[in-house]
Amino acid sequence: MVDFGGWDMPVQYSSLLEEHHAVRKGVGLFDVSHMGEIEIRGPEAIQCADFLTTNSVVKLKKGQAQYSGLLYQHGGFVDDVLVHKVTDHHIFICVNASNQDKDFAHMRGLNRFEAAIELSSDKYAQLAIQGPRALETLQKLTSTKLTEIRYYWFIDGEVSGVAARIARTGYTGEDGFEIYIEPSAAARIWDEILQAGEEFGIKPCGLGARNTLRLEAKMALYGHEIHASITPLEADLAWMVKLDKGDFVGRDALARQKDQGIRRKLIGFEMRGRGIARDGYEVYVDGAPAGWVTSGSPAPTLNKNIGLCYLPVERAQIGQAIEVMVRNQPVAAETVDTPFYKRAK
């Protein structure tokens, strides 16, 4: 067990590798109840969310979700979030556990709309069912027709007789669902999902597998790839920024940065020499310090040692030879195209 933002969470339930492979080949179950939820309600809920986040909330349809950024005026990340449009007057946002109080204060402070912002993390437990057999597993427990939920859409339905927001989203690079339910039912539904997935070799999965899975899929982790002094343009997340949608928090800074050009950029790499890159290790180009590793790990699906790093933008090209300082020893590596892993459609 590790302390994770005040939550006691297992890094692994059995073996990190077994849990990782279960999600890639069958199905895995994650207790992600630590994640925070912030809700915006009122006649101007849409406009409010659109102003507070980088992606276009106005373009979201009812029942649709999107990945987005919550930024400071200077363009750095407060958090990365999942925005769900429940109705024209109700936006539901899933945020990082350790950022929720900061996010809530930030959003409230900037709210000039006819909309109420509420921190409602205590009302929800969240379970993630992920993997190619996730749909078959969860379908046993719900009358909601899961095939009708498209990727990055959600339905307010039920799971095992309990009201559930069922979203086809995830943090693993696999197909799967994230369900939001009342906390009092969570332990029972956890057990029922494990039973339903037994025939597919389901495994309860901890933070360790969550990290290797998201890294293979090149999904950002707050505090690593993104934080207050990194902008979405630097983090290779320009697609979640809609500069032409109208005013939003951080827009001016990003427009200026786009104009002037970014100086550093996130890029993936594979180790060529023996050694594993870890978060915070220095990256050298031509024998001189050039950047740093944001995440690094063995990639269990690929049987390679991979990582993400920041490099000066002129060096952040695929095929660049780099060296990662592994415990004061330079180890050869090379920048590569990402995501490292992409599931077959």
């Binding site: 990190l16 590798l17 990290n211 023996r274 063995p298």
Partner: protein
């Protein structure tokens, strides 16, 4: 579980005395805490170890940990099996997956290490 004829450190290494040489490894508790081990970095033959100083590292999927020299001395041999099959450390940490063979500089250092019973009560208190 923890052989009676080994001595142990609070950093979770073990030492098995064989005359004036010793085998060194990491404990079952250490491999469990680390999880799936994927990489072991050991010193070269002939390297001089200084008790308490880092001699190398062992990495699992999730983290890297230092290995500290439980005794001072010269490295006489390393376990090559671990280069190609580091996962053996998860399977047999007290046997086939020993790390290195050391010629002791000061055999009296052994007495400063924990007995199997003391080590077990130490990890019992830690966990």
């Amino acid at each position: 579980m923890y052989p009676e004829d080994f001595r142990y450190t609070k950093e979770h290494e073990w030492v098995k005395l064989e005359g004036d040489t010793a085998l060194v490894g990491i404990t079952d508790h250490a491999q469990k805490e680390l999880g799936d081990i994927v990489y072991v970095d050991l010193p070269k033959i002939g390297a001089q170890l200084e008790k308490g100083k880092s001699l190398g590292s062992v990495e699992s999927v999730k983290a890297v940990s230092d290995i500290y020299a439980p005794v001072s001395g010269e490295v006489l041999g390393i376990n090559d099996v671990l280069t190609s099959a580091p996962e053996k450390l998860n399977e047999d940490p007290h046997g086939a997956a020993w790390l290195m063979k050391v010629r002791l500089k000061d055999p009296a250092e052994i007495k400063q290490l924990l007995s199997a019973a003391d080590y077990q009560s130490y990890i019992g208190a830690e966990s």
